[in-house]
Symmetry: C2
Subunit: 204 residues, 2 copies
């Protein structure tokens, strides 16, 4: 890779110069600062993990982050131990009562979702909190454990400086409409198909 | 949502019971434990953030993680400060020399990619390291700063217990073929379109 001609170099420089100009112009155009409603949806892996990555970055900036888990996995996760290092700048509330197909109790699932949503509203109202992660709330909304219209109207009325991250597959259209940033996570290839089991640090 | 009939409840219980059986059977089938090659690609946001979330979880389990940044953003990121809490269990190497369209110097970009790849191989060879994140290596591969065949063969020959996470849009087909888990991140909606600027904790 060392035999680069000077014309190749010049072409590269020119191309990159042009890209830089486009990039700079785009950055200059954007002036609005606002707390975002971010949605991570789709059937792919990484929706919650990416939300935790955003939380981590906020914590790195010295901010306070709230996390409400609407569906608690049966497995213990490492994030909680890692986040413990940030003390009370990370407010973690595991409100789900296991996966819904573990509980088989509709009334209890609805009560758990309502309690989680109550906690979420409490965190959103606290001016010290810079970001709230509503993990797997899309699942609770999909099963109509919470009314989508109420949830969206509370999210839209959030403090102007508050970022909210919503995760879970099958985000409702109302949620997507209300959001500032929506990423769809799609599964291209999965190791479970090859018989690989869930492993510490990857799935849990 | 409080007027649930007992037949609704029974239906719910039955449905969830069935899902649980399917889920349990699927879990029981999987016996292989192996270090995974994970690819985060696509034009959507969150590829690097999700990789950092995986790193965080590994750190939460007391493991050591290596990160090599092949393309360094011009903006300072909060992750680095957050990860500093984990001391030398997080080995962070920012090897990129700014975005390629910032440098406009092909030879320097190739040299930076080669140095980053050297560091990556060093981390992969260290038995204390449980996971290596090769952040934005797909960019270096796309521009042919590194030969894809060499990179893939080194990744495939990794230690059986080492997880490697590769990020960046336009993952090469050879990389996807070699991977165990591939997630495509697609942009559904972006706040930049609405004139919102890059903000601390979100974009940087």
């Amino acid at each position: 890779m060392t035999d680069i001609t000077s014309s190749e170099e010049a072409r590269h420089r020119q191309k990159m110069q042009k890209r830089k100009e486009v990039q700079d112009a785009e950055v200059a155009e954007k002036r609005i600062e606002k707390g975002l409603l971010i949605v991570h949806t789709g059937a792919g892996k990484g929706k919650t993990t990416a939300a935790f990555g955003l939380a981590l970055r906020m914590l790195g900036y010295g901010k306070t982050v709230g996390v409400v888990q609407f569906v608690k996995g049966a497995w213990h996760t490492g994030e909680k131990d890692a986040f413990a290092l940030f003390g009370d700048r990370l407010r973690w509330h595991a409100m789900g009562e296991g996966f819904t197909w573990e509980t088989q109790d509709l009334k209890r699932d609805i009560a758990a979702a309502e309690a989680a949503w109550g906690k979420a509203k409490e965190l959103m109202a606290d001016p010290n909190v810079a970001m709230v992660v509503l993990d797997e709330i899309n699942i609770a909304l999909r099963y109509d454990y919470l009314p989508i219209a109420d949830v969206v109207s509370v999210l839209q009325a959030r403090r102007p400086d508050l970022h909210v991250v919503v995760t879970g597959r099958n985000a409702k259209p109302e949620m997507v409409d209300a959001a500032d940033l929506v990423t769809e996570f799609s599964l291209v290839k999965h190791h479970f198909k090859a018989g690989v089991k869930a492993q510490e640090g990857i799935e849990f």
